[in-house]
Symmetry: C2
DNA sequence: GCACTTTGGCAACAGCGTTGTTTAAGTGGA
DNA sequence: TCCACTTAAACAACGCTGTTGCCAAAGTGC
């Protein structure tokens, strides 16, 4: 069950197991999964799985879809997630562009809209544009049960911001947003639940839910206007105590190095962007790799993913450069193979897709991974 | 409930709630806590708490201890943890010394033994010394129920090592231990369950369980022979994918800086130890602070604790020096007060005490915080 | 001494996964 | 064609969980 500092009762137990089964159905995708496989993976008895899947089918979340070949007896019935049982909107508010996507329960993006946006044009303009594009996606009609199938809107914005309260902080370059309660304002305006998170976190969550096998740990490093990170630790998006984790760009890499816009010196972001500006991409990649190595050593993650416009422009150079530094680290430590590096991909829609997952993830038991607020733990 | 990728049934639910209540009893300490407070904190109904505490009292883990003053009605009955319902041994194997402690369920150290040790003298010598000192602690007799009250032995050793398998890796300075299955060998020899972890992790766990309020996030930075870290995220000890997290010392802080014993350049450990060797403690503190600032930004933790022999020798200088760097960081970010820094204290017994908590923590629901191994998450 | 408040146990209950059993739906040899 | 065998999955009874409704116990204060 999910970590919590509160007591658990029978409904909580039921939700936990149902979410677990749903997550396995989601992970299985179109191939589906049989009841007995679900039982093996969850550790529940086959009978328990039968009961749970019966409920899910009654709720319209799962359906039978064919049979596996017989292995000498009655063939297993394949179960699949019903993708259109629920939808979420993902909204990526970038500095100069807005991307809105409609994603179904299976994680498939069924509609996309893009529009130019000036994040500095003021709240009213931005909210209006957001509302317009979200509405233009075309919502799915309520299901046969009459239940609304649009679960909510996930919003990804440049950080820093407060995920817990849904409030923007001093968005780099646009200080006028400081303190703006974007989540509540937008929720009121759209009449839908809204979840707000950093763009890097949204992208990392999206990647985490697509990862096979699920449950690993990785860092998503995003090099664009700035340099940020999204951390997935043990399959869960890590947001930190005040939901501000992932400040990767202002890590000091060169004490007494060149000044950074943040007021510090030798920050990896300043060094990296300077190298990019000089056209020395190999150097930028090496710098990024050094920062990644620091992170890998500290957190013992098992994968590094790179994204962002700058990376996308020279994907191979960055992947090779970062990979080389991590290979050196592995050689020095002598403990197994190097941590693999890859480009995140996602053709510019990764953040918006991930934003939608901010809403969908709780259905699969990936909610409340933000942080226990106190009480106990350890 | 604790994060997991397995299904949960009624016994699991019962254990979860019992552990939750036990943890609150432990946290309350000698002051105790009433049933209604337990109900409020857990979110369970008072009746459920009554049932759970009745079970705990029947098992000898909890007891009634007086009453609170009346607030106009029947006064609340205070419940307390029974400290001698369980014990654990904590064993700290350091490079030149062995420390063994006997700790009760409430976390009180009831016996301590210390002996010189040469970690390079070979397995047989070390195991013999460990067995001798553990036996000399004087185990508590089995309880009235006849149940053995010594729950196990927690062993803390210099890293790197594999907590999951209980195997040492190349202990810095003593490569002959590489691959030694210390946990299983010692468990066989003592006839008790053994848990193995890094010294920094043990210390961090001990600090986490003593923290008030519980559930926060902090980094324990240990500067002694080397420089390592123990991370507590959201109240839980974070060990990483291969239980190797906390490699703080070989973080690059000065690209193209002086060479480090690890083969890299400009590692914080090399810089820091060099400054200490020069007698420039202020510089060492500032270096440590810079590394701490990187970590604070990346993980958004809310406390930094310092320990280790070098720190203990000049506690104030380190606390002030690291604090100053973190204060600068907070000023630059402009987001609230600086992350506080403090000395961990513990008069050289912190690691051994924490090692005992490796065994006791599961009783209070702090088990399996290591990592989900796959399946799902996020 | 009585009305009131608060605590906390007792009893009945609904709902969870588990266990034991039965039915359904295949394979494969005689 | 039949029948023994295997495997899948539902049905039924069960034990145990926390919850709800109720009531006794133990205080305060007029």
């Amino acid at each position: 069950m999910n970590r919590s500092n509160t007591g658990a009762n029978l409904p909580a137990l039921r939700n936990h197991n149902a979410a677990l089964v749903l997550d396995l159905l989601r992970t299985a995708g179109e191939a589906g999964i049989s009841r007995l496989e679900l039982a093996e993976r969850t550790g529940l008895t086959p009978q328990a799985v039968s009961k749970i899947t019966a409920r899910l089918r009654a709720e319209g979340l799962a359906a039978e879809a064919g049979h596996r070949p017989s292995t000498g007896g009655k063939p297993r019935t394949v179960l699949r997630l019903v993708p259109d049982a629920g939808y979420a909107v993902g909204l990526h508010l970038d500095r100069d562009e807005l991307t809105a996507v409609l994603v179904d329960l299976a994680g498939t993006t069924v509609a996309t809209r893009r529009a130019p946006l000036d994040l500095g044009a003021g709240a009213e303009v931005v909210l209006e544009a957001a509302s317009r594009e979200v509405a233009a996606l075309g919502f799915p009609p309520p299901g046969p049960s009459g239940r609304q199938r649009l679960l909510g809107v996930g919003v990804a914005a440049p950080g820093p911001l407060d995920h817990g309260r849904g409030v923007l902080h001093r968005v780099t370059g646009f200080p006028q947003w400081d303190g703006f309660a974007l989540r509540d304002v937008l929720s009121e305006r759209l009449g839908l639940p809204v979840v707000l998170d950093k763009d890097t976190n949204a992208a990392a969550l999206g990647l985490a839910l697509r990862a096979r096998p699920a449950g690993g740990s990785f860092a998503y490093l995003h090099l664009g206007t700035g340099l940020g990170a999204g951390l997935v630790l043990g399959g869960a998006l890590y947001r930190g105590a005040r939901t501000g984790a992932g400040e990767f760009g202002h890590q000091t890499l060169q004490m007494d190095g060149p000044p950074c816009s943040c007021g510090g010196r030798g920050c990896i972001e300043a060094l990296c962007l300077a190298a990019v500006a000089r056209g020395d991409i190999a150097r930028a990649a090496r710098l990024l790799g050094t920062g990644a190595a620091n992170l890998v050593g500290l957190l013992d993650i098992d994968r590094v993913l790179l994204g962002g416009r700058v990376v996308a422009a020279e994907e191979d150079v960055f992947v090779r450069g970062v990979g080389a530094v991590l290979a050196e680290l592995a050689r020095r430590e002598g403990s197994g193979p190097a941590v693999p590096v890859a480009a995140a991909g996602g053709d510019g829609r990764a953040v918006a897709d991930g934003a939608a997952q901010l809403v969908l993830a709780p259905v699969f038991g990936h909610a409340n991974v933000a942080f226990p607020s106190g009480g106990n733990g350890a």
